[in-house]
């Protein structure tokens, strides 16, 4: 690993340049637009805060809904991903590579195609309902499996799970079996071993897994459109609708800035919380 500051800087340079040129620059330009306004379907460059007032007035609920559902998905995904990564690393033995392999291929297949596959499973005439009817567990198909927020959570959790398992598994690999054996020999109960040895060492993997799941879920707006039913419009829908349909790039931009701020706030809060939880012991 590079230690010399110059080498560190050199190694980080390409990624940093790509980041500055293709993210900071374009996003700064886009963000500047949030202080402009639109009249008669044209952008006028007079400085105004009106778009931010409108974000608060018109999109407060959508932002709340979006981040709440993203939070639910991220928590669910991270918990399952941690347990699964733990299983692969410590419990599965020779089955470990096979489970890892399953995780890797689950990433592929295509996002839109997977959404369609879930409709096949959850729909009124879907596989789950057909199975339940055949088994006599229900006499009518259950319509609530599809076209509600639960279907969005299921579909997105499935999509995000492999992306979350990998970083957690990556950090778990750094924990040696000897450490765990020592803890056990010293009489630590499994739960203490988990809390005091395993979790602190894979904190970073957990944070990464959570972040990935949270941001992708918060930014997604296609899944809710296809499986979410009538009342699951995410804030991404309105970023698009304002930019494209309403010809109102400034409003779209203000919404985007709000999303960025809320996301950054969530992550800072999460880190502070994790530090406190893990530092207490």
């Amino acid at each position: 690993m590079p230690r010399h500051p110059l080498v560190v800087a050199l190694f980080a340079l390409p990624a940093t340049l790509i980041f500055l040129l293709f993210f900071v620059g374009p996003f700064a330009y886009f963000a500047v637009m949030s202080f402009w306004s639109v009249s008669s379907y044209r952008i006028s460059r007079e400085f105004t805060f009106i778009n931010y007032i409108d974000v608060y007035r018109d999109y407060f609920y959508s932002l709340g809904f979006t981040f709440a559902i993203a939070l639910a998905i991220a928590v669910l995904t991270t918990v399952i991903a941690f347990a699964f990564a733990y299983l692969i690393r410590f419990r599965a033995g020779r089955w470990g590579p096979a489970l890892l392999f399953v995780t890797l291929i689950t990433m592929f297949g295509g996002y839109l195609v997977k959404i369609y596959a879930w409709r096949t499973i959850l729909g009124t005439t879907g596989i789950l309902n057909t199975g339940l009817l055949e088994l006599g567990l229900t006499s009518e198909p259950l319509p609530w499996l599809l076209y509600n927020p639960g279907a969005v959570v299921t579909t997105l959790t499935h999509f995000l799970l492999p992306f979350s398992v990998l970083p957690i598994y990556g950090s778990l690999r750094g924990i040696s079996d000897a450490q765990l054996a020592a803890a056990r020999d010293l009489g630590a109960r499994p739960i203490r071993t988990l809390l005091d040895i395993v979790l602190p060492q894979c904190e970073l993997g957990l944070v990464v897994a959570f972040m990935l799941a949270f941001f992708i879920a918060a930014g997604d707006y296609i899944t809710p459109r296809l499986v979410g039913g009538t009342s699951t419009a995410m804030v991404g829908n309105f970023v698009e609708n304002q930019f494209i349909t309403a010809l109102n790039a400034p409003q779209s931009s203000a919404l985007a800035v709000a999303i960025l701020l809320i996301s950054a706030g969530t992550i800072l809060g999460l880190r502070a919380m994790l530090h406190r939880v893990l530092a207490v012991r």
């Binding site: 040129l21 620059g25 005439t125």
Partner: protein, 386 residues
């Protein structure tokens, strides 16, 4: 209105100029800045030559390219289409405004064509270069004129048309006479509408307010319609379908029994027999056209493509692929039996007049009483948010 177009060009210039200092600043951030750009570009740029003069950028609904490519036009003329399939017609406006060179030929929503022409986004079409125009059904030309011409010039060439009728599962549902039948208790959780605000307002605005020009509702009427749609969404609909084709899929999977849809989705429902009726309150009709972008790279090639879309081969290929009707009268004998049975070719004129209406563009400027385009868009957002 002419000065409008100049204003738009000037605005574009200002926009570009205001960006130059920012770029310079970026470029000066490090001597390696250009290198980073090169890194990304070089990684892919080496694979392919920049597009040749005969590549035409087409921004169309999936399937409409079949009209442009009908026969073996592409092979014959050595033209290739660089396609972008749109998800909403306003994407064409956004792209033409920001980067007009990226759109040579497109399929804008017919109600927006005169707006786009006034904005200077489209080229007026020279009918001399589209000889097949003279073969179009006169009734289509008459119905399209209001939306597709601006200051007496054509900006879009009608290549197909149809309507947004009440669709239903004919195995389980009797023919319906009114849009309100969709709200019957037995269809609760078994009905749907498409995520197409124009057709939704045109259809339900008329039902709710009785206003026969639903694109010209007053603010109060619009609000009433929005309230109605929210109630319908919350208490009746299974879902709001992301696309019209998805409605066909919903019928096939027995998720719905009835919906606001389009004739061409019936075959997509597989074994479920889907039929439609034109309810007594009225039904919206539409006409689709091809337009040329204002900075089209090769106008003659675009003219040739549009003319091909109106030719007998182009019409038949596109109509059969999409399950949509034709506009060129000469293609009629070549059409499949089922296509001729689906659409009322013998009386197109009354299709566009009796209870079925081609809508006009929304009001653009607020006058205090009537709803503007923006009000309709915000109204749809209100429905989505509720």
């Amino acid at each position: 209105m002419k000065h409008n177009r100049m204003k738009s060009a000037a605005d574009g210039l200002v926009r570009v100029r205001s960006l130059v200092p920012m770029t310079r600043r970026q470029m000066m951030k490090g001597t390696g800045a250009l290198g980073a750009a090169a890194l990304g570009m070089a990684a892919s740029g080496g694979f392919r030559p920049a597009h040749a003069a005969t590549n035409i950028k087409a921004m169309v609904w999936e399937g409409y390219d079949a009209f442009l490519e009908g026969g073996d036009f592409l092979a014959r003329k050595d033209l290739t289409l660089d396609k972008t399939y749109i998800g909403a017609p306003e994407e064409i406006i956004a792209k033409l405004r920001l980067n007009p060179r990226e759109v040579d030929v497109s399929t804008p929503y017919f109600i927006q064509v005169d707006f786009m022409a006034a904005e200077g986004l489209l080229q007026p079409l020279d009918l001399e270069k589209i000889p097949n125009f003279k073969n179009l059904f006169p009734a289509i030309v008459d119905a399209a004129r209001g939306n597709m011409t601006y200051e007496d010039q054509w900006y879009s060439m009608p290549f197909t048309w149809a309507s947004i009728p009440l669709m239903y599962n004919a195995d389980e549902v009797e023919p319906m006479e009114s849009w309100m039948d969709m709200l019957r208790p037995e269809f609760k959780g078994k009905s749907a509408i498409p995520a197409d605000p124009t057709s939704v307002f045109a259809t339900w605005g008329r039902v709710v307010t009785g206003n026969q020009s639903p694109n010209r509702m007053t603010l109060a009427e619009l609000e009433e319609t929005v309230k109605f749609l929210i109630d319908m969404k919350k208490n009746h609909l299974r879902t709001i379908a992301a696309s019209y084709g998805e409605l066909g899929d919903l019928f096939a999977r027995k998720e719905i029994l009835i919906c606001e849809g389009a004739e061409w989705i019936a075959p997509l429902a597989g074994e479920v027999r889907v039929e439609w009726s034109y309810p007594k309150e009225g039904t919206m009709t539409y006409i689709e056209g091809f337009s040329m972008g204002v900075e089209a790279s090769d106008p003659d090639a675009v003219y040739a493509l549009i003319n091909n879309a109106l030719s007998v081969e182009g019409q038949v290929a596109g109509a059969e692929y999409n399950g949509l009707p034709i506009t060129n009268a000469e293609a009629l004998p070549m059409l499949s039996e089922s296509n001729r049975a689906t659409y009322p070719y013998d009386d197109i004129a009354s299709f566009f007049t009796t209870n079925l209406r081609v809508e006009e563009m929304y009001l653009l400027e607020a006058d205090g009483t009537n709803a503007t385009w923006d009000d309709y868009i915000q109204g749809w957002e209100t429905v989505m948010k509720a």
